[in-house]
Amino acid sequence: MAAETLLSFPPDDVATLSPKKYDDLMTKYLKSLDKLAKTWTVSIGKKNILDLLSPEVNSIPYLLALNDQIKTAGKSIDETHLTLAASFLTTFDPVQVRYVGEDFRELVCFVLECAPQAGADYLVAVTTGLLRLDPTAGTFTSMHLLLVRACLQASMPSLALPILDKDIYAYPAESQKNVPEDLLSEDLELSNSFITAKSAFSHKLKSDFILEYYLHGAQVYIGLRNYDRARLFLEYILLTPTIQHATSMLQVEAYQKWAMVGLLAQGKTFPLPRTLDSSVTKSIRAVGKPYDALAESFERRNWRKYQAEMEVGTQQWHGDGNFRLVQEAASALLRYRVIDLQKTYAALPVGRVATHLEFTSDETLTLLSEMIRSGLLNASITPAQNNTTADAVLRFHFTAPTTVSSTAGGNLELELQTQRIESLVSSIRDADRRLQLSKEYVEYQKRQKRSGPDAADLADQMDLSYDNPIEMGGDEDIMAG
């Protein structure tokens, strides 16, 4: 009897069911599961129920049973549970799981708790699981943050990348009154339709979770020297709206890192985002002064002053956990001093570079060869005839080897970029739609109507038109020219 109920879903013709029908069946099925005796989760007959069910087909009962067994096991959890959980995460049916968000989350939390000791495979399983549930990973859940935390704890930050690389475009929201909900069974384009506050895929969110997620993410990207992405994450933190100009300590930390990342990425600090709340800027800057001082010395390319600032603030950098970053920037400063030279020189003796850097010729030569080897400097060194280091010649190359491939590769990159922006625009449209459904917007519209039709400000609307440059045919003109 129990087995019959358990296996009543999915029916044989599941693939042909309409979303509505599927939803009805599923609701009925979930109700019947509730009615079953509590013991079904352990075994039926002599066999463990998990052996009877297929995680792929009977995802819901499998998940419930697994969770229950883990709970019963308590402290004495063994490897088998983890293995089962991991295999479930890589094989479950994503549509079924949408109906049991809380249970799914429990399982993920369990795996993540054990993962730092258990090993990388389980972290990979969780990322796979998250992406199976939501291939865009674009609706933020507490599972995002827990995963990144676990990866950092296990000292395997790159395992979080599949999730970090996806842009967050929504947060789980309460359903709006009077707005019909999407059916969970439908083929939904955006994951925030089924990851909602009601579905309980996420713990109740706090703003700190978001800030922490982005801060960890930025750290991962800084470690990987992906400064563009790190900058984006840090600016997310800086630009997070605040109530009455409150400023989070995490924003201060983000600012410190942001200043350093700017120096590393482009030799000067990034311009402050224009939409940043000015009083938040003020309070952040008041705390971030030492970093501004570093940045100033850096921008003036004053290596000695930077060194001095660095030594004076050693304790501070350690305290903020930015010592490595500050050190990294110190060596970047040397590199930028050399890179600046190529704006003026085409070739010059190593001895002169050394004088410029206030180094010995040998040290300079080591630095230069290191830079050339790591691709930071597009140049070559020709040894002098008399073999003295100072007379060796550093020659900058201006026709970068990348420009050859850039015609084909560049086009491809631009196309990818266009695609990214277009998909971004669709999520923005969705955000726009949600915004229009909100109570605040309706009230705003009412007030607008009262104050007359001319009062609507076009500038308030987000500009979503993005001209596709590739389809405009301008490219051919360049060729012809």
Binding site: R231, Y236, T275, A347, T403
Partner: protein, 497 residues
């Protein structure tokens, strides 16, 4: 005498401050007596003093002309200053001041001033505006001719009412009593002249002249729209342009100066006396305008602009007065930079001895003069233009085309490096081969890079905005906590679940 003491001390300042530069210039190509004949008015002694300070060979001649010219006038202060300057320069016979004349003249000046003031009081009692205006004008003119009252050391506050400042303010007081636009025009002309005089006087004493040039500029602007009849305005516009140009030149705004000079109608040359003053003699001759305008244009205009607006424009009539200036410009436009610079250098001394061109471009004793700055700019422009036609030029050939002024072996290299660093020259230096390389423009790839950058920026901005909207919609703003003002959110974040 207290008065003499102070005059002497200012003269000392004038000499000592300029001593590092004095005696550096060779004699000019012109004859000083003929040259002095071109000018008159209060500015002439200043012109001559400028020559005396900068050109030792002409010091005696110029000072003797200056002193005898001054003695014919009423300005005792100026006379004393010139005598002091003469003795500073070692010309003791010229330096011996005629104290008897000075004392007598000073007495006379004071008497005259009180007489004029008495008359003005009378006019004011009668309430006849026109008479009051003329009374004010008489006093102002008298103050201008006598150099104004001496500064009172006991009371530093009225310092700005001493010297030519007093005249400037007295002219300004006429404004309330002007009844026709012509009156205003006449007053404005005098204000311009006085302001320029103040500026020159300040420059020779190495104090800041910018305020005076600015007031000259402002008055010149007013003069253009003073509201007089067309046929009168025709006479005023050339003066307004020339004065504005001189003021802009004095302020170091060379491209603005060039624009105004080029707009100056050639009528300036044949203007004669306007409202009782001959500006061609008192301020600057048409020849001077040709030089000022030509140099400023050469230093700031592109080759095409020079051809179209300077050689081909109406300024050409001015240039006909100074054929070597015209020649220098046409040499530049035909890319004969070396010859152009040589021509200019030939007249370096002449121009440096001009009171406006040779003035220091910024306050400070060792500052470059405007001529130096203009020459440097023309040189840099020539080098840039010269390089634009080559992809590689050796430093040695550059040095022969443009012989560097300092004789240090690295002079050319340093100059080029400076130009590259200041962004004026888009080139790279190959230190090993000693050549200057023009960078190759990769239009296609740079367009690609540009597009990529723009797209990335769009993406980033959209993402950031989306984030803000989402956070606000989900009600996840950073809260303001009651206890410790938002700081404990970190603890909450670490506390986890």
């Amino acid at each position: 005498m207290v008065a003499n003491g102070i005059a002497a001390s200012t003269a000392k300042k004038m000499k000592l401050a300029s001593s590092p530069r004095s005696g550096t210039l060779p004699p000019p190509t012109f004859d000083i007596e003929t040259w002095a004949g071109n000018y008159d008015g209060a500015l002439l002694p200043f012109r001559l003093a400028h020559i005396a300070i900068h050109c030792p060979q002409l010091a005696r001649q110029s000072l003797s002309i200056a002193i005898s010219a001054t003695k014919k006038g009423k300005d005792v202060q100026l006379y004393n200053r010139l005598c002091e300057l003469a003795s500073q320069l070692g010309l003791q016979d010229l330096g011996a001041a005629d104290h008897e004349w000075a004392g007598k003249q000073e007495e006379g000046n004071k008497r005259e001033l009180s007489r004029l003031e008495g008359e003005l009081r009378g006019y004011k009692n009668n309430l006849i505006r026109e008479s009051i205006r003329m009374g004010q004008e008489d006093i102002a003119t008298h103050l201008l001719l006598t150099g104004g009252p001496l500064p009172d050391p006991a009371n530093p506050q009225p310092l700005n009412t001493a010297g030519y400042n007093a005249a400037y303010q007295a002219f300004g007081r006429m404004r309330d009593y002007c009844t026709t636009p012509t009156h205003i025009a006449s007053m404005t002309l005098r204000l311009i002249y006085t302001a320029l005089l103040q500026a020159v006087s300040a420059q020779q004493q190495h104090s800041a002249a910018a305020t005076h040039f600015n007031s000259a500029l402002a008055n010149a602007g007013r003069l253009r729209s003073v509201g007089v009849k067309e046929e009168e305005q025709v006479k005023l516009t050339p003066i307004a342009c020339a004065a504005a140009g001189i003021a802009q030149l004095g302020l170091g705004n060379y491209s603005d100066a060039a624009a105004v000079f080029l707009a100056t109608p050639f009528d300036y040359n044949t203007l004669g006396t306007v409202h009782g003053a001959h500006f061609g003699k008192a301020m600057a001759s048409a020849n001077d305008i040709a030089i000022y305008g030509g140099l400023c244009a050469l230093a700031t205009y592109s080759r095409q602009e020079l051809v179209d607006n300077v050689l081909g424009g109406k300024f050409r009539s001015f240039l006909e007065l100074e054929p070597h200036m015209r020649k220098a410009i046409s040499l530049y436009t035909t890319a004969k930079y070396q010859a152009c610079l040589a021509t200019l250098r030939h007249y370096y001394s002449d121009w440096s001895l001009d009171v406006f061109l040779g003035a220091p471009a910024s306050s400070g004793a060792t500052a470059d003069s405007h001529v130096d700055r203009l020459f440097a700019r023309i040189r840099e422009k020539s080098i840039t233009a010269y390089l634009s036609s080559f992809s590689e030029v050796s430093l040695a050939s550059l040095a022969t085309t443009f012989p560097p002024t300092p004789s240090a072996p690295t002079a050319m290299e340093d100059e080029v490096l400076n130009m590259i660093e200041s962004g004026m020259l888009d080139a790279r230096l190959d230190m090993v081969k000693g050549i200057l390389i023009a960078p190759r423009k990769e239009t296609r790839s740079s367009a690609h890079a540009e597009a990529k950058k723009a797209a990335q920026e769009v993406e980033r901005t959209l993402l950031l905005r989306l984030h803000k909207v989402n956070v606000a919609m989900a009600g996840l703003e950073i809260p303001r906590s009651k206890a410790s003002g938002g700081w404990d959110s970190l603890a909450a974040g670490n506390g986890g679940y």
